[in-house]
C-alpha cells in the first residue's frame, strides 16, 4: 500500500496538556480511516496540525513524501489536503450552490476573477451540480445555507470540503448531532466517494457503530498518543480500547 501521509514524532503542547505527544501517524492511499478516542484525546489537534490550523512544536509532516510541515493552509490545500470542522462551518449568506461552487473556483484558482459572473462558468456549474447530486442536495441549490436543517448542513459541510477534490480528506465528526437516518446518509456518501477511488478519508467519529461499519482501519488516541491501530476486528478485540470505551481507566 502506498503511504499518502506520514507524521514523524509530531508534538504539540498547550501549557501542561500534551495534545500530540510524539505521534507517528500513517495514512495509506485509498483507505477509510477512523480516528477515535475520548474527548481531549488529541484527535482534533492532530487534524489541526496536519491541516495547518495549528503549528507543531516539533516533528515533521510528510505528504506524498514531501515535507509539508511549514506549508501554509492554502499551500496544503493545493497539495491536496482538505478538511471539515467539528462545528458546521458554512457560508450562511450564500446559497447551497454557491457554497460548493466557491470550493471549485478556489481549487481551480478562479476565485480571484472579478469581472465575470460566477454563474456563467459552465464547467464549475456542471461540477457543482454533480457534487450536489452526489450528496443528495440537488433540490436545495437555491436555498441559503443558513436555512438548511442540521443534517443537510452536515452533508453540505462535507461536500464543501470534498468539492476541493482533495487526495486526503479529514472529516471532524461529520455525524455529530444528526439523526441515525442522516448519519447513514452522510457516511454512505462519504464511503462511496472513497470507494470510487480518488479520495482517502480520515474521519473523527464517536459513534462506534458507525466506525466499525465503515472503516478500513481504526486508530485510537489517548492523551495525545496512539493507543491502538488496526482493522475493525482487531480493535474490537483490543482490551485497552474496550476499557477506554467503557470508561475504565487504564491500569498503569
Amino acid at each position: 500500500m502506498t503511504i499518502l501521509l506520514k507524521t514523524v514524532d509530531l508534538r504539540k503542547q498547550f501549557g501542561e496538556t500534551r495534545a500530540c505527544d510524539g505521534v507517528n501517524f500513517v495514512v495509506h492511499k485509498g483507505e477509510f480511516l477512523s480516528l477515535v478516542g475520548s474527548n481531549g484525546a488529541g484527535k482534533t489537534s492532530l487534524v489541526n496540525l496536519i491541516s495547518a490550523h495549528l503549528t507543531p512544536d516539533s516533528g515533521q509532516i510528510l505528504f506524498e513524501d514531501k515535507d509539508i510541515t511549514f506549508m501554509t493552509v492554502s499551500e496544503r490545500i493545493k497539495a491536496g489536503i482538505a478538511r471539515s470542522f467539528q462545528i458546521v462551518n458554512l457560508f450562511d449568506g450564500l446559497t447551497v450552490f454557491d457554497n460548493i461552487a466557491l470550493s471549485i473556483f478556489s481549487r481551480d484558482g478562479k476565485a480571484g476573477k472579478i469581472i465575470s459572473l460566477a454563474e456563467h462558468d459552465d464547467d464549475v456549474r456542471r461540477e457543482t451540480l454533480e457534487v450536489l447530486g452526489q450528496f443528495g442536495l440537488s433540490d436545495k441549490t437555491a436555498v441559503l445555507a443558513g436555512g438548511l436543517a442540521q443534517g443537510e448542513r452536515k452533508l453540505l459541510d462535507v461536500a464543501v470540503a470534498y468539492a476541493l477534490r482533495p487526495k486526503l480528506l479529514f472529516l471532524d465528526e461529520p455525524t455529530s448531532g444528526v439523526s441515525t437516518h442522516e448519519k447513514a446518509q452522510i457516511m454512505d456518501t462519504v464511503s462511496s466517494v472513497v470507494r470510487a477511488g480518488t479520495v482517502t478519508a480520515v474521519v473523527i467519529e464517536h459513534d462506534m457503530d458507525v466506525v466499525f461499519r465503515y472503516s478500513d482501519r481504526i486508530v485510537m488516541m489517548h492523551e495525545g498518543a496512539f493507543l491502538a491501530d488496526g482493522t475493525p476486528d482487531q480493535i474490537k478485540m483490543n482490551k485497552d480500547v474496550a476499557n477506554i470505551l467503557l470508561g475504565v481507566p487504564l491500569s498503569v
Binding site: V73, L90, F91, G93, A111, I114, A118
Partner: protein, 331 residues
C-alpha cells in the same frame, strides 16, 4: 434551469432599465433645484455602493471612507488649480488611479485587522488626511477649502460659460452623473456576482472556513478595500464640480459616519440598499437642515430608530414585506 436563470436576469435588466428611464425623464418635471438634489443623491449612492462592498459583502465596517471621498474631491481641486485642467473626463481618468493608490495603501494597512480595530484604524488613517487638509492651508486652503470651477464635459464638447450656464450645467451634469452612476451599478453588480464577490461573502460569513478553501483572506480583503475606496473616491470626484468647493469637512470623520448611515438606511444586506440609502439620505439631510437648526438631532434619532426598528434598512424591510404579501397571495 438555464432558461429560468436567464429569465430572472432579463427581469432584473428590465427593472433597472425602467428605473434608469424614469430617472432620465425626471428633470423637466422636477425643476432645477430638485435636479441638483437628485444629482447629489446619485453621487451619495455611488459612494455608498463602494462603501458597502466592504460592509455588506466583506463584513468590514470602515469608519474612514471620508478619506476616499475627500481624496477624489481634493485631487480634482488640485488638478483644476495647479494643472489648469478643466475636463471632467481628465478629472476621472487622473483622479481614479491616484485614489486607487491611496486606497491600496490604506487598505494594505487596515485589512490586517477586522471588527472594531479595523474601524478605528480606518478612522485614524482618514484623520491623518483631515488634519493635513486642515493644517497645510497653503496647499489645501485650510478650512476655507478650494474652489473648483465648472468643468467641460465630454472632452470639451460641452462647456459652460455665459448667461444661463448654471441651468445648463445642472441639467447636463445630472445626465453625466446618471450615466456614470449606471456604469457604476453595473460594474458593482458584476463584481458582487463574480467568483471574487462570492469569495468576499464567504469570508464575511466564515473567515476560518474560507481560509480552508485555500482562499487568501487578506489578499481578498485588500482588493475589496481597493475597489471600495476607489468607488467612493469617484463619488468625491463627481461631487466637487457640482458643489463648486471642497473643504476639510468632507474628510472629517463624522462624514464617514454619514456614509455608514447611508448604507444602513437603505440596507447593507441588499445590493440596492446603498443606492436607495444614498438618495433617501440626501433628501432626508437636506430637508432636515432646511427645516430645523437641530438637524443632527433629527438624524441621530432616525439612526437610532432605524437600528431599533429597521435593522435591514428600507430595502430589507420592503423586500420582507413583499415576501410576506407573496406568501399570503399563494395561500
Amino acid at each position: 434551469m438555464r432558461w429560468l436563470r436567464e429569465r430572472s436576469k432579463v427581469q432584473l435588466a428590465a427593472v433597472a432599465a425602467a428605473v434608469l428611464l424614469l430617472l432620465a425623464l425626471l428633470p423637466p418635471f422636477i425643476g432645477v433645484y430638485q435636479t441638483q438634489l437628485l444629482t447629489y443623491g446619485l453621487i451619495a449612492a455611488i459612494a455608498a455602493l463602494g462603501f458597502n462592498l466592504l460592509l455588506g459583502y466583506t463584513g468590514l465596517l470602515s469608519f474612514g471612507h471620508s478619506a476616499f471621498f475627500g481624496i477624489g474631491a481634493y485631487t480634482v481641486a488640485f488638478l483644476a488649480r495647479d494643472a489648469g485642467i478643466h475636463s471632467m473626463e481628465l478629472y476621472i481618468l487622473l483622479g481614479l488611479p491616484i485614489s486607487a493608490l491611496l486606497s491600496a495603501l490604506f487598505g494594505y494597512i487596515s485589512v490586517r485587522h477586522t471588527r472594531i480595530f479595523f474601524g478605528i484604524l480606518t478612522l485614524a488613517l482618514s484623520q491623518v488626511l483631515y488634519s493635513l487638509a486642515y493644517k497645510l492651508f497653503w496647499v489645501t486652503g485650510g478650512s476655507d477649502g478650494l474652489r473648483v470651477p465648472r468643468p467641460t464635459l465630454l472632452a470639451g464638447l460641452v462647456s459652460f460659460s455665459g448667461p444661463g450656464s448654471f441651468l445648463r450645467f445642472v441639467n447636463s451634469y445630472y445626465y453625466y452623473v446618471l450615466a456614470v452612476f449606471a456604469v457604476c451599478v453595473v460594474v458593482m453588480w458584476v463584481i458582487v456576482h463574480s467568483p471574487f464577490g462570492k469569495a468576499l461573502q464567504a469570508i464575511r460569513d466564515n473567515e476560518v472556513r474560507a481560509a480552508f478553501l485555500g482562499l487568501r483572506i487578506s489578499r481578498f480583503r485588500w482588493v475589496a478595500f481597493l475597489i471600495s475606496g476607489t468607488f467612493t473616491s469617484l463619488a468625491g470626484i463627481l461631487w466637487v464640480p457640482l458643489n463648486g468647493l471642497t473643504t476639510p469637512e468632507i474628510l472629517y470623520w463624522p462624514f464617514s459616519g454619514e456614509i455608514v448611515f447611508t448604507a444602513l438606511l437603505g440596507g447593507f444586506r441588499n445590493f440596492s440598499g446603498p443606492i436607495v440609502g444614498g438618495i433617501v439620505f440626501t433628501y432626508l439631510k437636506t430637508y432636515a437642515v432646511a427645516t430645523t437648526e437641530y438637524w443632527q438631532l433629527l438624524l441621530g434619532v432616525v439612526l437610532v430608530m432605524l437600528i431599533l426598528v429597521l435593522p435591514t434598512g428600507i430595502v430589507g424591510a420592503v423586500s420582507r414585506l413583499a415576501d410576506r404579501l407573496k406568501a399570503k397571495g399563494k395561500s
